[in-house]
């Protein structure tokens, strides 16, 4: 890996971390969901600052071109994060459904009670 590439990647990673911390500080991102992003960032920092470590890691998995290996790692992380997002969305919609139903049930009860109250 050329020094230029190494430096530009590290700069990109710093921007990446700055963004995560900005979101965390502004409470736009909960810590729970930022963990995966942070882990991914740390792995990338380690790989780009100690390229020999990355080379060895890639060889271990039978990757012949380290840059392709890096892309694969990136893709894997992105897929994992998207999948966990889909899981979160599914759970959210379950909860919204339950909430909407209980709201509707309560609203009906209030209407009934008001009718009864007027009768008295």
């Amino acid at each position: 890996m050329s020094l230029t590439l190494q430096i530009s990647m590290i700069v990109a990673e710093l921007v990446y971390f700055a963004m995560i911390f900005y979101f965390l500080r502004k409470k736009m991102l909960s810590i729970k969901y930022s963990l995966l992003w942070l882990v991914f960032g740390i792995v990338m920092i380690v790989f780009t600052s100690v390229p020999s470590l990355m080379w060895r890691f890639m060889w271990m998995f039978g990757v012949e071109s380290p840059m392709n290996g890096l892309f694969s790692v990136l893709l894997f992380f992105i897929l994992t994060i998207i999948m966990s997002l889909t899981a979160i969305v599914s759970r959210q919609s379950e909860r919204i459904r339950a909430l909407v139903q209980s709201q509707a049930l309560l609203e009906e009860r209030i209407r009934e009670l008001e009718v009864k109250k007027d009768e008295h």
């Binding site: 459904r97 139903q101 049930l105 609203e107 009906e108």
Partner: protein, 228 residues
């Protein structure tokens, strides 16, 4: 025996009045609960005007969520039997008695009305019949339940199953999956012949372009149920 008829309603201004009136006439001893699934037309005004018991969902949940809200209501209010009936006039209240009878007799927990046993009345398109046959076969393969009209939304449910459906009910296109779910909870399932009419208003929730998605989604859902 307290019976609740649940009518999921989404934009049914053209048919809901006739459905409710017919039901009141033919089955005066049952309670009616319309579930307005956040309709954008005059459905809400008509329900208010008819002075029929109804739930107003603040967000559109789709047929599964609307029906489940009805089951939750039936559970909370201690109903013994809940019946699902479409608002579009397809389901004839004359069959209500037949649908409820096996539950009252303790012979079944889920009774579905099939238009294909006696093959009378509205039989839908041949493509849809093929899809329904495929789902019938899949349900039989997966859990051994023999049904001839897996997608029928005209069904009666016992107290035990009301509680189960209130707690968990499949989302979009729920009917076939709900049968498998009932079987997995060891409920007794029965099918009776009914005559369905062509819908008087509105359109099927299953449009042609959605049918491929429908078949894939429902098939996966049925098979997943078996694995749970």
């Amino acid at each position: 025996m307290r019976v609740l008829v649940i009518i999921p309603s989404y934009n049914e201004e053209s048919s809901i009045r006739a459905t409710v009136n017919e039901l009141r006439e033919q089955a005066p001893d049952v309670d009616i609960l319309a579930v307005n699934d956040c309709s954008t037309d005059a459905t809400q005004d008509i329900l208010t005007e008819l002075n029929v018991k109804h739930l107003r969902l603040p967000i559109n949940l789709g047929i599964g969520g609307a029906v489940q809200a009805g089951y939750k209501f039936a559970d909370l209010n201690g109903y013994d039997v809940a019946v699902q009936l479409d608002a579009d006039g397809q389901h004839d209240p004359a069959f209500l008695k037949d649908l409820i009878a096996p539950i009252v007799a303790g012979e079944a927990d889920l009774v579905t009305g099939s238009r294909f046993i006696e093959k009378e009345g509205f039989q839908t398109s041949s493509l849809r019949r093929f899809g329904i046959k495929f789902l019938n076969g899949l349900i039989r393969l997966v859990c051994g339940v023999k049904v001839t009209d897996a997608t029928s939304g005209f069904r009666a449910v016992s107290r035990r199953l009301i509680v189960i459906y209130g707690g968990e009910y499949p989302t979009d296109y729920p009917e076939p999956e709900a049968i498998v779910m009932a079987k997995m909870h060891k409920m007794k399932i029965k099918e009776i012949p009914v005559v369905m009419r062509d819908r008087s208003g509105g359109q099927s929730s299953i449009k042609f372009l959605n049918s491929v998605y429908y078949m894939i989604k429902v098939s996966i859902a049925i098979m997943l149920r078996r694995l749970q």
